[in-house]
Symmetry: C2
Subunit: 801 residues, 2 copies
């Protein structure tokens, strides 16, 4: 087993879509999956190429309800390439006798390789090798190299290379009832014997997408240029090349494409730019060389090394962690620095959630912050550009400030579905998940973490602070005062746990005093107040004047931050929300016996005419999120500020309480559980970590990965290595360390970026060693075991644990 | 005279287009000029609204030559608003008897106000007041308020409010032969009795431009809503409202527009976004309030105060300097931080130079660097996005690295005209100005200055350094070794002085060893070498690997930087280029007598079948640029590094030599001359400064200002106050001061930004006082009279001069 290669030696049609998701190649600008060359000439097989930030709205009527469906657009298929021998059938993997099959995702190079041998109906033996890349060096380019070896035959071979704009969004089975045609053809033309051009426009958002492709052929080492016949139809252009092939030398085909959209910068017109770009491309190997160099630098940035007692586990863990890093960088690479994109919950790997942006950046940014914070900066600007829309949403809902939506797309408006289908019952049900206002606190948390890691006062001044103040204002305005309690409350919202969206039998949706929501709101208010000490005076004055924030408003935020209500039950169990303690206990064993997989208990119960709202059950971590986001020290300070008692033992008691009442119907939930268990030194932490690692690669949620990988969970696993096991916390201008290696893990080595320093961190069971590269940056503060130490450029420090 | 108001109390049709240019309103996203309400219903008058970064290419055939014409696009006219009494003629300023006229550009508020009284053919008296703004707070919005007072009549009044997409680019007379129609109509529709919508698309670049407008009417304080009749044609939509008017109360009309283009971010579709934005606008006064607050903050940032012995001169200077600041911010406001735009040589104020980007940022950035460097950062990213195009240009010309074009537009390719017309002779002549390779050094200079002021290592790492290395590589590759001289040379280029593009009677164009070009190339090579000490080690390695820069290449740059040839003649006169000393002296007096204005000597000589190439004449500063960009100390170091002798007296001798041989056919030339004279303590510095100040406001180049203001010269005048009179230099991590107030100027007070510090600087004839606002930033270094002092946050230092 090679720790840098994801290998599959069997062709298994049943698992093909999972493998496609895992082998999707991308560069932050676009990502491409697909099964060429077994795609037949008329495109039976489903490939997908998605462009970052390219959405389209469609309105559909389903079950008499109007559903607005904002989709990650599947753009023209550039992989379309097939061949046939003589005038036989087009090659089809399913119709030949496969003699060998080898597929390899090279993680180091971000190249997908495939090799297969087959015998066709006429008894001929053929070998096909293919390499594919989406350039990390030149984000508009991608390339496919195919070699066809006639092992024991001689005949003409016809090659078809196409750009196919007739694709639809059909990657998720249950969305197929919804509108799926997003592209209108504009131009399909052959420019040269080796060059084709295709341009389409998205139907609603009018984004022009242009592809130019060059297809070049070699027989052995000799370049050949057969005159193509041109196939052309609405939205499709193909070149057919015919040549003679025999066993003496293989046919090698390079297909390189350039893709531009009208949302790109520094262009005149996407069509013109695509054509000009393809004019100057050299060849596959040149592209590959530059692509590999860029990936080498990325791997150096995102490097880590783990040492485990069991070397198999070590290799497996490293390989999967690298796969996760690969997919995260492919989704939000350095190229996003100049794009207007967020962090899609499912990457650019599939159509699930229609490309929507949720709160997943909360789980992704901590990884990027300490490796390449410039990426976080760009992605936070995506939120900043949508601040006005969040202001409108707050106003429309009767609140002040800015209220970011639970799900959003191109223009930042609320895109959460209003109804959803329970496939178990066939019922369309109202969907209240837009009440998850806690996403606003996640945004502030992200801004704050980014600032703590980088001290980027420019970003904070011009973007971050404005969002923090407006979100603080929103929290203050949604808060009401309960005189009896002499406490502030937040009513009618949902926490992260989506099983609970209302009180049983209540007419209104939403719950009161969700503990996570309330505590995060307090934390946000405290950060807004802290801005007064951080921002340059002039900028603070400007902001307060522009937003009309008065001293009285700051005073009110301070007051709420000290008197927010947090519900408890059974002593120090933090109630998920007010009244949670009075809900019925659930018959976990009975249901498990009856249904087997009960991850989606909500659907099971609804189909039984019951509701999850009646029970102490959670789809995912809710209270536990607090222990994920905050160290015991910070949480303690928060409770003390609110005038609540807080003991360290509160944490394990709450963890045990909620873990035994959670069904894990979410990939993020497993992550949070692993985290809190690891931080509380449980023996099961490593096995749980290994299980978590397998969630996408083995599709443990049964069918969700083929619809798109889970960005948040993938990042979270790497962050378990990076921040959880090391106990890294960036708070109060100090980089805190508090290592807790799970049983079996002997040591960890990481390369980190903190305040323009490049740090080397090595943690073993007995000591932590931290070093900085020489530079002209000011010293940084390292905190360990309640003591703060200064670290200058070029220094090394070692701490006994 | 009010120092914050540009007032005109006479309507003078001959000067109207100059006033329009000076009164153009903008917000960095778009700018609008125009003469409504005297625009008649069928649009006789020419208004212009330009969107930043929106270009269109057209190809024309003129005099049998194909001319590609890239144009700043004039987008639909939103100002179109007129009225008529009863069924009389539409109001036309030229057709009524004007009783009074008052136009006022309020610099503090960035609002244009107009008031006029007139008597029409029927003897009726009417008063019209108008206010107009382009919102600096919400960049997609603009508003026009019109009040019509019937002084002595009672009748129906018909109001026409239109969005007119039938506009063409006809703002520059001599371009009218070129294609001028850039817009294709898409949609023109009435959405509501008060709302219209228009969408067009640019013909070649396919940029969609959508405008939605709301028109609201009041009689006195009472809102009225007459049902409009709708006028509609291809690319035009108008609402006609008819109501009864009498002397008891005026008719007040508010027209507010929202404009979006498909190049905007965080949108779904520009049409949708424009319609949604106009749905939520409140009213003119609310827009004005927020607009004014934003401007208050901008004025606070860009504040200055001068004290002159002559208070009239003081007020006049302050007013014009504010006008310049206003226009600069309107062209490149904080809103450009999220746009892909450069610094257009003529702002967004007119169509001259077709919106092209030249080297003017060299004169603009120093102002922004010390006030709001975040703007510079954004504008430098515009260059970075076009680095690939510059690489292609270098490659196409046979060089290595990146060669930025002299003129460029949307996609960064060379847009310099290949032929130009001499209106004096009627001849079309080849244009060699693309040989001005020195623009590449200007880009490096800009990056370096920005870095020196901000120490923004993130920008340098990810954008700046790559441009510097690639430009250094270009200079090294265009350099050839002259064995005889044992010196390196740069042959076949043009310096800034456009009178000289070849040797007399030479077949080839270009000149050898232009001193400015050679010395700047050396300076660039030195900066590229210095990067090795500044960049974080990891990033340097990455860059060198990606760009394939080897130690040998660095060594070659070092070698060239020590042995570049600089030509001299007449002792220590730096030859503008090799052979300049042998050119003929020019008969200045004779030609002045014969032609009067000889600013464009090149045209005069060409029409006489002669050429400026034969004479010691300059259109503009060339050698003098060196004294503008570098302090005597830095220039001395450069010459010493090259092994040339350098004395302080070299500077005044060169200044005198070249000033007496320059015709000032460029607005930038006057700036550079003022600068070098002021730095060399000449008594004429202040009068020359005052003359320079008047160049745009009085259109001293006769007709160029109405075609668009001169961005570089405007910024340069403010920078004379900011850096020249104070002797500010940001070099080697030190902020150097070396004040030289011109005679008559008693003191200067400025607010500056330097490395996240807000500084107060007060310079009088006897002392310089510098203070920092309290902050948590590290101390900065202040240099004065060869000594460096540390300044901590919250400190004040005073230095006797």
């Amino acid at each position: 087993m090679d720790g840098w290669k994801l290998i599959c030696s069997q062709f298994d049609p049943a698992n093909e879509s999972l493998r496609e998701a895992l082998c999707t190649l991308g560069n932050g600008y676009f990502a491409t999956r697909g099964a060429a060359p077994e795609a037949s000439a008329n495109g039976i097989h489903y490939p997908g190429t998605y462009i970052a930030g390219c959405y389209n709205r469609l309105t559909d009527t389903i079950a008499d309800r109007t559903v607005e469906n904002e989709s990650l657009v599947n753009v023209p298929n550039w992989l379309a390439l097939n061949f046939r021998i003589g005038d036989g059938d087009w090659f089809d993997l399913g119709a030949v006798e496969l003699l060998s099959y080898h597929q390899e995702l090279d993680l180091k190079q971000a190249v997908l390789k495939r090799e297969m041998r087959f015998r066709d109906g006429a008894g001929r033996h053929t070998r096909v090798e293919q390499r594919r890349l989406v350039s990390m060096d030149q984000p508009h380019l991608a390339a496919l190299e195919t070699c066809i070896h006639a092992e024991d035959w001689e005949d003409t071979i016809e090659l078809r290379s196409a750009l196919d704009g007739c694709v639809e969004n059909t990657g998720v089975a249950r969305y197929r009832e919804l509108g799926s045609k997003h592209l209108t053809p504009l131009t399909a033309t052959s420019l040269d014997p080796d060059t084709m051009f295709l341009e389409v426009v998205t139907s609603q958002s009018h984004v022009r997408i242009a592809q130019a492709a060059v297809t070049r052929l070699w027989l052995g080492n000799e370049s050949i240029a057969p005159q193509p016949t041109v196939e052309k139809s609405d939205g499709l252009i193909a070149h057919h090349y015919t040549t003679q092939l025999n066993a003496s030398q293989p046919l090698r085909v390079e297909k390189i494409i350039a893709m531009y959209t009208s949302r790109d910068r520094a262009i005149s017109d996407p069509g013109l730019d695509a054509r000009e770009a393809i004019d100057t491309v050299v060849d596959f190997d040149t592209l590959l060389r530059r692509h590999t160099t860029t990936w080498k630098h990325l791997w150096h940035r995102f490097d880590f090394d783990i040492e485990h007692a069991d070397s198999d586990q070590e290799e497996q863990a490293e390989k999967i962690l690298r796969l996760h890093v690969l997919h995260l960088i492919q989704t939000t690479s350095p190229h996003v620095m100049d794009l207007d994109v967020g962090v899609p919950a499912r990457g650019l790997h599939g159509e699930a959630y229609r490309g929507h942006i949720f709160w997943d950046e909360l789980f992704v940014f901590p990884l990027f912050n300490l490796r390449m914070p410039e990426i976080t900066r760009a992605l936070l600007r995506y939120r900043y550009r949508r601040l006005d829309e969040a202001r409108k949403a707050a106003q429309a809902a009767g609140y002040l400030g800015a209220m970011y939506p639970w799900q959003s797309g191109s223009d930042g408006r609320e895109e959460t579905q209003r109804v959803h289908l329970n496939p178990k019952s066939g019922n369309w049900l109202p969907d209240n998940s837009h009440l998850q206002r806690h996403i606003n606190s996640a945004i502030v948390y992200n801004i704050w973490q980014y600032y703590q890691v980088t001290r980027d006062i420019q970003f904070l001044s011009f973007c971050g602070a404005e969002m923090i103040l407006e979100i603080a204002r929103f929290w203050a305005s949604i808060t009401s005062y309960n005189e009896q309690r002499d406490r502030y409350e937040i009513l009618g919202v949902m926490g992260p746990d989506e099983y609970h969206d209302a009180y049983p039998d209540a007419e209104q949706s939403g719950l009161n005093n969700n503990a996570y929501t309330n505590l995060m709101a307090v934390w946000v208010l405290l950060r807004a107040l802290e801005l007064r000490d951080i921002l340059p005076g002039q900028r603070l004055t400007e902001l307060c004047e522009t937003l009309d924030v008065s001293a009285d408003e700051f005073a009110r935020w301070d007051e709420i931050s000290r008197r927010m209500h947090v519900p408890f039950h059974d002593g120090d169990i933090i109630s998920q929300f007010e009244g949670y303690g009075e809900l019925a206990e659930f018959d976990w064993e009975g249901y498990q016996e009856k249904y087997g997989n009960i991850e989606r208990l909500d659907r099971i119960l609804e189909a039984e005419n019951d509701t999850a709202n009646r029970y102490k059950v959670s789809k995912q971590a809710d209270v536990l999120m607090l222990f994920y986001l905050f160290s015991s020290e910070e949480l303690g300070a928060l409770f003390t500020h609110l005038g609540y008692r807080y003991e360290y033992e509160t944490i394990p008691r709450n963890i045990d309480y909620y873990l035994s009442r959670t069904s894990h119907g979410s990939s993020l939930s497993r992550l949070v559980n692993s985290w809190v268990l690891a931080r509380s030194d449980r023996p099961g932490a490593w096995p749980l970590f290994m299980e978590l690692l397998r969630s996408d690669i083995e599709d443990i949620q049964r069918g969700t990965t083929p619809e798109g990988i889970h960005t948040g969970a993938m990042a979270g696993t790497v962050d378990l290595i990076q921040r959880c096991f090391t106990g890294i916390e960036t708070r109060g201008d100090v980089l805190w360390l508090n290592p807790r290696l799970p049983e079996g893990l002997n040591s960890l080595t990481l390369s980190l970026h903190y305040r323009h320093h490049v740090l080397g961190l090595h943690v073993s069971r007995t000591c932590a060693r931290i070093s900085t590269e020489p530079s002209s940056e000011p010293p940084i503060q390292i905190g360990i075991a309640n003591e703060v130490h200064q670290l200058k450029p070029g220094e090394v420090r070692e701490f006994q644990l």
